[in-house]
Amino acid sequence: MADGRAPAPVLDLTPAADSYRLWWTELRRHAGVLLVLARKDFQTRYKRASLGVAWAVAVPVLQGAVMAVIFTRVVRSGTGSGYVIYVMGGVAAYSYFASVLGTSVTSIVDGAALTDKVWFPRVILVVVPSLSNLVGLVVSVVVLVALMPAFGVDYSVRLLLLVPAIGLLAALVTSLGLVVSALQVYFRDVRFIVQAALMVWMYLTPVIYPIGFLHRLRIVAIANPLTGPVSLFHMATVGSRGLWVAPLVVSLSVTAILLVVGAEVQRRYDRLFVDLL
């Protein structure tokens, strides 16, 4: 059945895991699938909702507004005029992190039907939520930037930091997803641990208040890898509020470690997950 396409692939399977080289080649070969799946994931999420993609923006904006009202009017923490922007940036970053992690933890298990008979690197399933949620994040960041003057925050060149901020955030959550999604296949209680962690995690991260607010728990916030990218969001919009270099270093190192561990786990167990699904 020669139809002028690339030569037929040869599948060689032995008990040993695929080599890094092969694994990487397969990953690249399936990049198109990743993009299509991510797009479909995004579309199907909002397609059947009447307001559509607007929800992707409305949720963090609304959340930011609520938090801002609570903290400026009720708690009266007095963090200044840029506080609304501060909260909205933190909430946008955190909701991306939470929704991606919440989905990716079960991505391999949920994707069982999709990969039961046709093989493609399962990593793709894990990366899909990171990509599809990125649209919502970018849109809410754009809205946030547009709202800045209204809350008395001037634009500055620091806004460029939003790019590495988003990059680091996505890298962190994806790397973490690689690890937890593999664990979830073997231990079905991992997703509940993740859910519980996501509830607490927000308060140990300077999402709605600066690190200083945590007093003695500061050290936890600094060791928290999520503090790095979230602080970058704040840096980019309202300027520095407390420590950010140390958290950034922590975040970069944790991401790198998780990425290496996660990729290794995924490579090694890729064609074995199916046995447990």
Partner: protein, 422 residues
């Protein structure tokens, strides 16, 4: 040309956990969940040449699906080596590989890409795919609203349009209406003719017989037989009719002693064809099915019912003795031989011959020999189906009746007369 599929000493081991692993338990020392290993497949050597069609048969849980999974690259063998050359399209049972929330159209794109097409290739074949599936009206409906038949039609359609070099088929023809099944058969045959390698896993002996010249019998995780489809099917039935743990050689139901029949027990079953005792009948052959019975209690005026069921449980034939006649009574320990003379008008396949005894009103069942005797009927060359009508096709006076197996030209090796397999 190198073979499309090579398997060398392949085995697949599963850890059978007595309970789902729990994070806490596996971390705590000494509390690791109990697990035992199970080999789903062991020592499998299989070579399938390019362009060949091979059937895979075996009872449920024999390891057929595990085999296909490994060939599709989804699962890794625990030992041995597998090499598959060529683009593989797995044709899968209901609804696998589809995203519930996405429409038929979107699923065609994703599925096509997963099967190795580029986005553009899918787009150019899209109309063809939809036309083949006959789902034009529903193509923009999310597939979660599809019936299982629609699901299968779309899945089959995408897979065959990706022009795969190797087609792995798993029970796919079990769903869908008759006309679509025929369409699938036709399509698979034309792909065979085009040189596509096909591995067909099926419980449908008819499908195996129609499409495969060679078949592999998987039994308890090992390849028990590899040869012509007819011999493999015959061997399969032999294994199915042998009770687990050996014992009865001539039938599948329990004989006297192995089960307590309250009123009547079967002491032996046998079948005699025109050439003597046998389990294989030729179409048109006269035969006698004999069942020896022993009465355990007094039974008055029994009525006998002879039945034939096909492998899928269809009642092919039921016939009873005269009603209302107060024939005779039997005392405990009496013996009786019941002979059923018959003419083999069954199509090729496996059947069970059963005998039931009731009181003359049919209210009380004295004997229900469900297992009965497994009988294999060799198909008439050029025909398939449950009945043998001994048809002859004539056109302008010429008898065009086929005298070769109902298989694709050039790929069929004549199964010949059926000998004893294994």
């Amino acid at each position: 040309m190198s073979p499309a599929i090579e398997m060398e000493g392949v085995g697949k081991k599963y850890w059978h956990l007595t309970e789902q692993a729990m994070l806490l338990k596996s971390i705590l020392p000494g509390a690791a969940p109990k697990k035992e290993e199970r080999w789903a497949l062991r020592d499998v050597d299989l070579v399938v040449d390019t362009g060949e069609t091979v059937g895979v048969i075996g009872h449920n849980g024999a390891g057929k699906t595990t085999l296909l999974r490994m060939l599709a690259g989804v699962s890794r063998p625990s030992e041995g080596h597998i090499r598959v050359r060529g683009r593989v399209a797995p044709l899968i049972s209901v609804g696998v590989g589809f995203h519930q929330e996405m429409t038929g159209r979107e699923n065609v794109l994703v599925n096509g890409m997963l099967l190795g097409l580029t986005r553009r290739e899918v787009a150019s074949r899209f109309d063809e795919i939809v036309a083949f599936s006959e789902l034009e009206e529903f193509i923009d409906t999310p597939v979660k609203f599809y019936s299982s038949g629609m699901y299968m039609r779309l899945g089959f359609s995408v897979a065959v349009h990706t022009s795969p070099e190797i087609l792995l088929v798993d029970e796919v023809l079990a769903v869908g209406d008759g006309s679509f099944q025929l369409k699938c058969f036709d399509r698979m045959r034309s792909m065979q003719a085009d040189g596509t390698t096909v591995l067909l896993v099926s419980h449908s002996i008819h499908a195996i017989r129609l499409l495969c010249s060679r078949a592999v019998l998987v039994h308890h995780g090992r390849i028990d037989f590899d040869g012509t489809a007819e011999l493999a099917i015959s061997r399969h039935h032999e294994l199915m009719s042998t009770p687990v743990g050996g014992g009865s050689v001539d039938g599948s139901g329990p004989l006297a002693g192995s089960a307590q029949e309250p009123w009547i027990s079967v002491t032996s079953r046998s079948l005699a064809g025109e050439t003597g005792p046998t389990h294989h009948l030729q179409p048109g052959e006269r035969a006698t099915y004999s069942v020896r019975l022993r009465f355990n209690e007094r039974v008055d005026h029994p009525r006998f019912v002879f039945g034939v069921t096909s492998e899928d449980g269809t009642a092919c034939y039921v016939m009873q003795t005269r009603v209302g006649l107060e024939w005779r009574s039997f005392a405990a320990a009496d013996e009786l031989e019941v002979d059923v003379d018959l003419s083999t008008t069954l199509g090729g396949g496996t059947y069970r011959f059963t005998l039931t005894a009731t009181d003359r009103f049919g209210r009380q069942t004295y004997l229900h020999d469900v297992g009965g005797l497994v009988v294999y009927v060799t198909p008439r060359l050029g025909s398939a189906g449950i009945a043998d009508l001994d048809a002859h096709i004539k056109a302008s006076g010429d008898d065009l009746t086929a005298h070769e197996p109902l298989l694709i030209e050039g790929k069929a090796s004549s199964p010949g007369r059926l000998g004893d397999a294994g």
